[in-house]
Amino acid sequence: MSGAGKRQRLALRIAAVPMGLLALSCLYPIFFAINNAFKTRDDYMRDRFGLATQPTFDNFVQAWSRAHLNEYFLNSVIATLGAVILLMVVSSMAGFALASLRFPYRRFLFAVILSSLMIPVQVVLVPFMRTMLALNLVNTHIGLILSYTAFFLPFSVYMMTAFYSGLPRELIEAARIDGAKLLQVWWHVMLPLGMPALVTLAILNTLSCWNDILISLLVMQKHRTLMVGISALKGQYSDQIPLFTSGIVIAAAPIVVLYILFQRRIVSGIAVGAVKG
């Protein structure tokens, strides 16, 4: 805020000190993980606080192959990528229908989709597992992809509906006069126009899918995802902190990269979702 008084500026400067410490605390854990990941086990025993003076990539190599993180990583990539793409397609179609088309029970169906926000996976844990078993989807990538899509869908549909209701109806009418069928209107007009919102959603959904543990713990009992793998690693390698932290670094790296690349988009996407208008 401009033109703050002198006393206020002083107060703000004082407040900056604890806020700065808090900011450092936010960075410390990832620094801790990275720093120790480059140490040997003996280095860590000798000096746990110091910087890794002779960095070694051994831990990463071991974690990647011997602790099977390569396999887990691939599983996470497949599930996340599949779910994110499916989420984009499904929520864009649903948002288009809810925002731009007129059909009976439109509001009711919107309410049904939103109301499933009331049903997190914990609430339907047992029947969800049985549904997955009945559909033969347990331990399959497609099962995990469908589960992620189902559980992260309502927010995406809400975002796309809000985004598409902001577009002029005339665009769709123009396309209809141009002879486009509804599917063509969606593909040629709505999907490309929705890209800004869809990209934001893709990033946010990537975070949710990649970071998930509960759903993947339930669905992928044989083929672990990265997060399930890491939590198992914790028990196995509790006396090999450098190896364990290198696993953490591997698991966090894609998210950190995504955050650095798309920080503004992530921040504004969440802000828009929180308080639209």
């Binding site: 179609m93 109301s115 914990q122 189902a150 549909v157 997060m227 914790k234 802000a271």
Partner: protein
Amino acid sequence: MLFLLPAILLVLVFRIFPLFWGFAISLTSATSTDPGQFIGAGNYLRALDDPNFRSAMANAVAVLLSVPIFVTIPMLLAILIHQGVPGRTFFRSVYFFPAILSSVIIGSIFSVVLSFNGNLNALLNLAGISGVDWLGHSATALPVTLAIQCWSTFGMGVLIFLAGLSTVSKEMVEAARLDGAKMWQIWWHVIIPELRPIIEFSTVITTIGLLTSMFGLIYVLTGGGPGTATTVPEYLIWAAQGRLNRPAYAAAVSMVLFLMTSILAWLQIRILSRNANI
């Protein structure tokens, strides 16, 4: 409508239909292999006597009591950033950083840092204070877990409040200053009342978050223990379904959790649809 079909189908098959099915299961004595028999409210009555359930509910109450902290801290930080604290752009991007990390990652790191021979205790020993088994002690395990949850999510709250603050009119604050209001008076009489909808929203989503997204952290940090010190309802459901092989009982606890979250989610949907205008 054909375009809506995939969305509706997914939500129906994986969420809405299982909800009803879950209620049906909660009224039986089913195990993972046996469909069991109808036993009415048996599982619910059993829960009342179950020490695990009781302490899960007690822990849930403790968690809910911490909600004001989870809302106030981000609000104060956001107002300070909005008022132009030196270094605010740095704070804004760094504060959000823990919020993007998986609870598994955060839990893993803290389990190393906070373990009995971990970094924090090593630091305390250097200062001549004897260490505490932060996560292995039933008095400290839940507060510490909550503190970590708070630390890892406050950035999200800051973000939401900042979005809300950007809608507070500058003219109004300036008018208040011309009227001779001091900084704390402006906060108390102008800014915080204007933020009311955001406070509501933030309270609702924080509460839902605390009830349904601490699983990862607890799973990695404490496994619900020591004893049942950090067993919250969502963790109890998971344990009862898997380790304890009591799916019908798990389904009953699920229904209790559903009752709690649905009241909150209903509030959230009201806020969301008020903003979506369709």
